[in-house]
Symmetry: C2
Subunit: 386 residues, 2 copies
């Protein structure tokens, strides 16, 4: 059976064919809102059951067929979910099935949860659990798929299976080079003209970003989520308990662990800049520390279970120090590209006057990139934030 | 057509089937002398033509079927030759064909050349060209298959195609862990007992080797030869001109460039220890410098042709510094494993008294590993040698 693009009216039949739904007629609505894919929510009329269906199209959804993109990104997503399900099933949506012919995932209905970015933009806070869970998520996924958690031969197979040329290229371009070059993708608020020019003509910054770019291209440390921003996280409460779900791992590949932490940190630091601009009291400035502490504690908790005991405790200390430094660099690059690159953050663009907060964030981003080796603790970063 | 193990009497027919030989009956003799594979030399009776046929068996040749080993290592070898042929065809044997059904390479007859290690062990020297060519070889292969010389998407395909779980595991074990552990593979001259014990109980050395091991496992910088010792190099003269051929790249995979340089350096440093022990005058101590200078010069010569111009000149300087440091570390690990690990070097074992030279080499190896970051030039290493 070849690939077919699923429309709203096909979904109920499709789910029946694959054994995910009974004879009753569900309500189906398309709720696609990412850039890339289609998503359908399927709900029993009595509201007792729900499912989501996510299908990758052979193009970028918001652009249409004029921007082709291999739907094989859904394979990467399914593979990432499969790996996470082994070690952190509580932190991703339940996956009921993956149909590789149609690049379609059938998964948990998360319509009762909210996207973390939306909550933050609406004046909400992170709450005590979110960043801890994210730190644990990165530790659990990366440890399990590193040379510490996975036997050497299995790791090599994972590296081969998870190469993702098209999606890595997007990151290599829009995050790790374009913002520092003249490029048609770039745009920015006129109030940032001077900084955009300065960033493009700063040789030290360019060389440091080249380092991060090379690390991204060659550092096959562990399977990453690959796009771990606050828009890839849903949070909420079920039966009185907090729920955190990381989703959309279609940029997943085997790369440097610091890239996942760094993306998350960048997004928390930008949300802190927004809260500060609005005079909102909150916990925005604490999230880098909370997620790093949770990452490190979880990685250390898993360390005694490593399959490769040649790696000793002193090596772990050094390794974690290096992940810290690399994460800061990637955080800086992510902040910069979200302000003077291709895709901007609503956290800043929806501010009454985005300029002051954007300037501060840009300068923070630059410091994180060029001074990452001097910043040795979350407190050092918090001092930069103030 | 399935896989068949070729015997001497099959070779002429096999070559005819594949269009490599005419109707005349050649002389065929088996000349296998590596650990892993069978090699046949095929010569026309009038001596005007010759070929070599190399076949990977589904086991380690010298051990027999009791040590199974996937013959797919020949795919890695063919792939490496194919890459090198594009950029340094003068430094490998001419490849006339690869038969992936039978894991057999038909290649240049090099029986007029000699293995570099043999020459050195018989009191010969490197001569002015060998190490320069080796440095250029590493630069040409690694540049072309790095993110500098190869477009991002093509690189990802190369990484996926070149994973080599079985052969990488051998290196990870016998080079980058066993010598520092109690392991049945290890053996050494009784005169080295104290050093073998000291190396196994040296926490700093262990942690530094763990760093190198992790770099070997995760540093997907470029396609490597993977086993670039003086036994993988043939040299000689044809029509008055020096000839250097690197062969046996079956350990090839995408890894850290310093691993190829380091292996070669270790072998040159051990040959220098041998020459010194025998009071042989020669050029043995110059080879690290000659190969490094040639590597660096060639890499810099290729730099302006890079496909990814985001990498700037300042990044190149840093990158080469890092390759230098990593190469020293791998050189140290290779020296150590060749003296107290599984497979020893005839350079030392055939000395009348191998102990003094072996002790000096072991201590040099340790210094290269633990002090690699302090050694900034070939002169620093030459000072350690004296």
């Amino acid at each position: 059976m070849g690939y077919r693009i699923l429309e709203t009216e096909d979904i109920a039949g499709y789910l029946r064919e694959r054994g995910h739904w009974g004879t009753d007629e569900p309500e189906v609505r398309e709720v696609s809102d990412g850039n890339m894919n289609r998503v359908f929510l399927v709900t029993a009329t009595d509201r007792t059951r729900g499912l989501a269906v996510k299908q990758a199209l052979p193009w970028v959804r918001v652009a249409g067929p004029s921007w082709p993109m291999s739907p094989e990104r859904a394979d990467a997503e399914a593979r990432a979910y499969e790996q996470v399900a082994k070690v952190a099933p509580d932190k991703i949506p339940a996956i009921h099935g993956y149909d590789s012919d149609n690049y379609a995932l059938v998964m948990e209905d998360m319509s009762d949860l909210e996207v973390l970015r939306t909550i933050l933009n609406e004046g909400g806070t992170y709450g005590p659990d979110t960043s801890r869970r994210i730190g644990e998520f990165v530790a659990q996924l990366s440890f399990a798929t590193s040379d510490f958690g996975m036997p050497s031969a299995e790791r090599k197979a994972l590296i081969a299976a998870s190469v993702s040329p098209e999606l890595c290229k997007i990151t290599e371009d829009v995050v790790l080079s374009e913002p520092y070059l003249e490029h048609e993708h770039n745009h920015w608020h006129p109030g940032l003209d001077d900084l955009a020019v300065a960033f493009r003509s700063d040789p030290r910054l360019r060389t440091e970003v080249a380092e991060l770019r090379h690390l991204f291209m060659t550092g096959a440390q562990a399977l990453l989520h690959g796009d771990l921003h606050t828009g890839s996280i849903m949070v909420g409460t079920r039966e009185g308990a907090p729920v955190v779900r990381v989703f959309d791992p279609e940029f997943s590949f085997v790369g440097p662990i610091g890239f996942d932490l760094g993306l998350y940190w960048a997004n928390t630091l930008v949300s802190a800049a927004r809260a500060d601009a609005l005079g909102v009291e909150g916990d925005h400035g604490d999230q880098l520390r909370l997620s790093w502490d949770a990452f490190r504690a979880e990685f250390r908790r898993l360390w005694p279970t490593r399959v490769d005991t040649f790696f000793d405790d002193a090596f772990l200390d050094r390794f974690l120090d290096r992940v810290w430094t690399e994460s800061l660099g990637f955080a800086g690059a992510e902040i910069v590209r979200r302000i003077i690159g291709f895709a901007h953050l609503t956290d800043l663009t929806t501010l009454p006057d985005p300029v002051p907060a954007s300037r501060r964030a840009l300068l923070l981003g630059r410091e994180l990139i060029v001074r990452r080796a001097e910043l040795t603790s979350p407190e050092d970063v918090e001092a930069l934030l103030r």
